[in-house]
Amino acid sequence: MGKFVVIGERLSTTAPIINKAFTERDPEPVLKRAEQQLKAGATYLDVNIGPAESDGEDLMKWAVQLLQSHFDNVPLALDTANKKAIEAGISVYNRAKGKPIVNSADAAGRIEYLDLAAANDAICIALCNGEGIAKDNDERMMYCQTLLERGMEHGMEAEDIWFDPLFLVVKGMQDKQMQILECIKMFSDMGLNSTGGLSNNSNGMPKAIRPIMDSALVAMAMMQGLTSAIVNPNDLRLMETIKSCDVFKGNTLYADSYLEI
């Protein structure tokens, strides 16, 4: 088993400072946040440029080249509703440190993102969701099958499809939490990789609580077989938990300084 893959989530248009930097093509704030995340232990960086309807292609190319040239071809997850922008990003992407991740397909309107990933030999995050939130794991697994078949029909390896159970917010959907964890176990039993926006669980909670909830959930999810998550790597408690779980799972060899590497 490989190490848990941390995809850093902090390069996103949802952050005003990054949104502004993307719009103005200002490298400095983007590079600063990228460096913070990589130093903290992120493997991949998610580049969320939002819907980016007008200049998405140009923006994604700019971001990919900027980040890869500064950080030794850091592997990236390309995250936007603009498909052409993802293709443009991949066209300038260097694979030396890992395939690009297409973020993301679902089992409804965005299923074609799998085709795009297949055509470009990319990894694809596959959200096990159709229209609205799946009511139970039968429905999630049906979407999982649909997505898996779609990807494989287009020539993808199963390992390049990272299934996302869709983490749900505790405040409002507390009763669904164990379902999500069971769903991860089902992915794992099928030998599939998985990922997701794990910190979604603690949305709306006080700032001091979120790292605690996120850490507890990541530990439980890793026990179930989760292989990756899209998270904030600058959450120290979370990263310490992930590194510790990697030791327990045998994904990394323990050394006294394991938290520092």
Binding site: K3, N251, T252, L253, A255, D256, S257
Partner: protein
């Protein structure tokens, strides 16, 4: 369904590390497959074989080794002679006489020998310590200084003296730093982390992860090396991708199979043959388990292991 052979080639690889300088320089590591798995991917740098002499000179050698050094009066003479034996890639000078619990030779005396040996041969040089951590720190600092520019290996820094040895050998004189642990994978990793945190270049570290003579708890050696190579290659653990160098002679020439005379143990047969057998068996097993270099004493062992490596790679 047709059978498709799956390659056991990994995307990660063992670091390449150069020992020595000039024409005689050798390269350890670089492989991205398990030991001798050349059917999965080519292994560019075959494992290397070193020969060990000590500061004690001819007197300190087992009787069966002495005849190979006939006519040598100094350690430097022996070094020159050793360099001519078949299969020798590098020379290891074991400064065992420095041990405060043994002969306790002053560091200056030992360093004088280091200098003479270095002047006598152009082979890559390994300086093996006396096992006392304080004395070794002193010896390695001085040896690093007199061997400046030779890209020598200081074998080795331990948990107790890694700061001193790392600073002198690694930082001040850019020699290769050995990192020694004894069949303890977690400590092997930790030492590499500590040395790199100190500023020593990860690509200038070689590990001695411990060995035992075959039959003396050797299973631990196999599992230690196996797990280190698995972490380095399968998990891509950069803190364990350093090549491994294993001193074999120091283990095998002290055990009863090598020491007992034929008069005492007539049923065991020829003493020299036993000594060589123990050394060759242990070295072969170390190499099969993941060592990138072994250090031997008997010229016949060296030639045999060199031949084995050549036949396999």
């Amino acid at each position: 369904m047709p059978f498709t052979a799956k390659s056991g080639k990994f995307s990660a690889s063992i670091n390449t590390l150069t020992m020595g300088t000039g024409e005689k320089a050798i390269v350890l590591g670089g492989e991205n497959v398990f030991p001798f798995y050349t059917f999965d991917a080519p292994i560019a740098n075959a494992p290397k074989v070193g020969i060990e002499i000590t500061d004690g000179g001819l007197e300190a050698e087992p009787d069966c080794v002495k005849k190979y050094y006939e006519g040598c009066t100094t350690v430097a003479d022996m070094a020159k002679k050793a360099a001519t034996f078949e299969g020798v890639d590098f020379l290891s000078l074991h400064l065992e006489g420095g041990d405060p619990n043994g002969e306790n030779k002053p560091t200056e005396d030992l360093i004088k020998i280091v200098k003479e040996v270095a002047d006598a041969v152009d082979l890559p040089i390994v300086i093996s310590g006396c096992k006392n951590v304080e004395k070794d720190a002193e010896i390695f600092a001085k040896a690093s200084e007199v061997l400046d520019g030779r890209n020598a290996v200081m074998l080795a820094a331990k948990e107790e003296n890694y700061k001193n040895v790392g600073a002198s050998a690694g930082l001040a004189y850019k020699q290769v730093v050995g990192a020694e642990s004894a069949d303890d994978i977690n400590l092997a990793k930790q030492l590499n982390v500590l040395l790199t945190q100190l500023g020593v270049d990860a690509k200038s570290i070689v590990m001695n992860v411990g060995t035992a003579a075959a039959g003396y708890g050797y299973e631990y050696v196999v599992s230690t090396m196996d797990r280190i190579k698995a972490a380095a290659l399968q998990q891509g653990d950069a803190t364990l991708q350093m090549p491994i160098i294993t001193p074999v002679a120091t283990e095998t020439w002290g055990i009863k199979e090598s020491v007992a005379t034929e008069e005492d143990m007539p049923e065991w047969g020829d003493q020299e043959a036993r000594g060589i057998d123990m050394e060759v068996e242990t070295a072969a097993a170390d190499l099969a388990s993941g060592s990138n270099a072994v250090i031997l004493k008997h010229p016949e062992s060296v030639a045999t292991i060199a031949k084995m490596i050549k036949a396999l790679i």
